[in-house]
């Protein structure tokens, strides 16, 4: 007994206690629902057995049916556009802004702070706001684009099948840009100025300094930003109901919204769970990338 107590105050037990408590909490509130979804994807579910675990086994029939839906490949394509478009846009613009704000000029950090405002806005508000901005006939984005002569005809951001997925992606880039910029700024701030000065003395130009110092030093930060970006993009839900509802004809539907539609519009909970389990595979990949990226961290 005494050994356990002293272990908790002073040894490994202390670490295990801190991690264990949190893990138990997370397992209960995130682990159990996850397992529940996996189990449900192999069962027949209806409103009468929704709250029990013992349901008729369905084998892979849910998976087969989901894959054989006519919209399946369209949704995969859209999910890829949404995820890679969002991450790409957030990362490239975020990185550019982070680099820009590393320059020394008055109020640089204050103005940079203002950008973070988007990140603290509730997703639902952002969705409503962008749904309004992107409206076809009275949307302000069209008015601006027409005003500066970029387009002649009204762009139906929410109703044109070739634009709809991009409309949501644009809103999501706006939402996530600040977060990317901030994390990348943090990484940039950690690079010693001495390195740049030494490189400058050696005659390296801006691009060379960026590719030989900034990028390698930022490797772990970039890995973390991209991995977290993938997870958060796949979780992004609030924008879809507020902007396009996945339409027209699924042309802006993505996996996470489709899963919700199965469960809450078509009331086929098993198929909804099936789609969400398929998404797990994607995130498994992202998590591996993230953990791999932390291997290059240096402490202290």
């Amino acid at each position: 007994m005494g050994r356990i107590v002293s272990s908790i105050t002073d040894g490994k037990g202390f670490d295990l206690l801190l991690v264990g408590l949190t893990m138990v909490f997370l397992l209960a509130l995130a682990g159990v629902p996850l397992v529940y979804n996996v189990v449900m994807s192999f069962q027949q579910v209806d409103m009468f057995n929704l709250s029990t675990f013992s349901r008729p086994f369905a084998g892979f029939s849910n998976y087969v049916e989901v894959v054989s839906q006519p919209e399946f490949w369209l949704i995969i394509r859209n999910t890829a556009i949404f995820v890679f478009g969002s991450i790409g846009g957030q990362f490239v613009f975020g990185f550019a802004l982070a680099l820009f704000f590393m320059l020394k000029f008055p109020f640089a950090s204050t103005i940079r702070g203002l950008f973070l405002v988007s990140w603290v806005m509730p997703g639902l508000v952002v969705g409503a706001l962008w749904g309004w901005i992107l409206a076809g006939d009275f949307g302000v984005l069209n008015a601006i684009l027409k005003g500066i002569g970029l387009i002649d005809n009204t762009m139906f951001w929410k109703s044109d099948p070739s634009l709809a997925i991009w409309a949501v992606t644009i809103a999501n880039i706006w939402l996530g840009l600040a977060f990317n910029m901030m994390l990348l700024s943090v990484g940039l701030a950690g690079i010693s100025q001495d390195l740049y000065e030494a490189a400058e003395l050696d005659g390296a130009n801006g691009f060379q300094r960026f590719s030989t110092i900034t990028l390698p030093m930022m490797r772990s930060t970039i890995g973390a930003v991209l991995a977290l970006g993938l997870i958060y993009t796949l979780q992004q839900f609030d924008l879809f109901p507020a902007i396009t509802e996945g339409g027209p004809a699924n042309s802006s539907n993505v996996a996470q919204y489709w899963a919700w539609q199965w469960s809450f519009q078509l009331f086929d909970f098993a198929k909804g769970a099936t789609v969400s389990v398929m998404m797990l595979v994607f995130v498994l990949f992202a998590s591996l990338v993230y953990v791999w990226s932390t291997r290059h961290e240096v402490r202290g």
Partner: protein
Amino acid sequence: MNRLPAPKLFLVLALGLAALYLFPLYWMYVTSLKGSSEIFANPPTFWPNDPDPSIYPETWARRTMATFLWNSLVIATGVTSLTVLLGTGCAYVLARYRSVWIDIGLFAILMLQVLPASVMITPLYVGFNQLGLLDYPRTAVILAAAGKAIPFYIVLVRATFMSVPRELEEAALVDGNSRWGAFFFIVLPLARNGILVLAILTFMQAFGEYIYSKSIITTQSLQPASVGLSGFLGPNSTDWNGIMAYAAIYVTPIVLVFVILQRRIVAGLTSGALK
């Protein structure tokens, strides 16, 4: 880099970028002040012809926003407390060691939050029901939302702990401090800034929590502002100035707090506290 010329030019450029980026916010305020027919004007007006601020008190009263915002506050405070309480220690341990087990732990934490809230809600609802937690709906939402917030918090606070020099902690242990002592009196104070900043960010995120509250809290007087807003966004919404006024009242406090604290937040995030 600090020898580059024309800082004023950069300032102008920065202001321009910020203005472009924050245009949606501007548009929210402008739309809220327009009359109901001006809203649908084509092309839109960039400044209301006849600004009408009376929409604010009207929306405030009609949509019982005081109650909604109070509930948001309760939920956000609960989520933040729980997250800081559970997340900080875990992040510290995960930052302290470097082993396969830590990798597995991190990996598990990430995997545990991969499913969007929209598919987590059914199992959570069923579970809470069996535990009788649905009778305390705000508590249930706090638990569920904390489950979503903690992994994110751990990942970022862990980075903060990475920047605390290990030597300081080891010196404290040599001086006869227990692990608890070293953690509370040496490591935590050094990581204070980062923790504070992430707590604020967690709070702001929780302030916008929507999906769990929508499904779990069935009594209107206990619902947060996000659910109140969704009541506006039904299929039959043309009350865009009302929606925008509601949204403005909802986000302005967060934005204000943020602008007031932003120097500290940004400093906390960038000046090595978070690395």
